[in-house]
């Protein structure tokens, strides 16, 4: 797909799973609309996620807009300080670090594709779920949090066979509605 397009997409979309989804739809002969649809569905989770970050991102509109772009699963997950709150310095710091790594990594991948082979050989596909699990355990401070976690995982797994990638994760967000019950 050329060398420059993937790097530019990394700079603007900065969300791995959506880029992989779009690239794989294109690679398997799907149309541009299908690729865009898959990627947007995958990234739809950032609408509710960005709500949780809103209270700590103040300042002028432009600065809020720019800082909000540093929200990715990983920066959001590591900046949780409990009770649904995030630490602003952590999310910005982690976001910037990830952004530099992501852009650099994409450029490296474009240049060196084929040298590394399949990253699955190194078990890297299990590394992020392990990180998410460690962060999840730290979140399970209340009975309600535990219920939300079990419900979220159940909803997501139940939908995997019937929906396109991304939908299970967005649907799982509905599990947080157990918080309405007091």
């Amino acid at each position: 797909m050329g060398a420059l397009a993937p790097v530019v997409m990394s700079a603007t979309a900065f969300a791995g799973s959506a880029q992989f989804a779009a690239a794989s739809v294109l690679a398997t002969g799907g149309g541009a609309l299908g690729a865009i649809g898959a990627a947007v569905l995958l990234n739809a989770r950032y609408a509710p996620i960005s709500l949780t970050v809103a209270p700590v991102l103040g300042g002028p509109l432009l600065s809020r807009l720019l800082q909000s772009q540093l929200i990715v699963d990983e920066s959001w997950a590591v900046s949780q300080v409990g009770g649904g709150r995030v630490d602003r310095r952590l999310i910005v710091g982690a976001g910037l670090t990830l952004y530099v790594g992501w852009l650099g990594g994409t450029a490296l991948g474009v240049v060196g594709a084929g040298v590394v082979g399949n990253p699955a050989r190194f078990g890297l596909d299990a590394a992020f779920p392990a990180l998410f699990l460690a962060l999840l355990v730290a979140q399970l401070s209340s009975r309600q949090a535990l219920v939300a976690a079990v419900l979220g995982a159940t909803i997501a797994l139940a939908l995997v066979p019937f929906s396109s990638p991304g939908v299970p994760i967005i649907a799982a967000a509905a599990a947080c509605l157990v918080g309405l019950r007091r």
Binding site: G2, A5, V8, T12, A13, A18, L26, G31, A35, I36, A39, V40, N43, A44, R45, Y46, A47, P48, I49, S50, T52, A54, P55, L57, L61, R64, Q67, S68, Q69, I71, A77, Q80, R121, F122, G123, D125, A126, A127, P129, A130, L131, F132, L133, A134, Q139, Q144, A149, G152, A153, I155, L157, V160, P161, P165, P168, I169, A172, A173, A175, G179
Partner: protein
């Protein structure tokens, strides 16, 4: 414009808009109390869903493979109160070894 560029531009624009939703609409303000209770549970719900889908998810099916061994290693490391870096490395190594063994 080739489809790669069209897709890249569209996905980029949509992602920027999605991520900006909260901070642009509610930036610097406390969320309404009723919303806070719900939003607090978004992290456990989404993190659990990400773990489940990234470990068991396949192409429109659930798959049991080496990733599950990696998750078991992560659980064991967490039970031993290992630091996060050890938890993550244990998961990657266990998965890689299981794959190398031909599973």
């Amino acid at each position: 414009m080739s489809p790669v560029w069209t897709v890249g531009a569209a996905v980029g624009a949509a992602t920027v808009a999605l991520k900006a939703t909260g901070p642009v609409l509610f930036g610097g303000r406390e969320l309404p109390p009723r919303l806070t209770g719900v939003v607090a549970l978004l992290a456990p719900a989404l993190l659990a869903a990400l773990v489940a889908v990234q470990i068991l998810g396949g192409d429109r099916q659930l798959v049991l493979d080496a990733r599950l061994v990696g998750l078991a290693a992560a659980v064991a490391a967490l039970a031993l109160r290992a630091p996060i870096l050890v938890v993550v490395s244990a998961a990657a190594m266990a998965t890689a070894l299981t794959r190398a063994a031909g599973f």
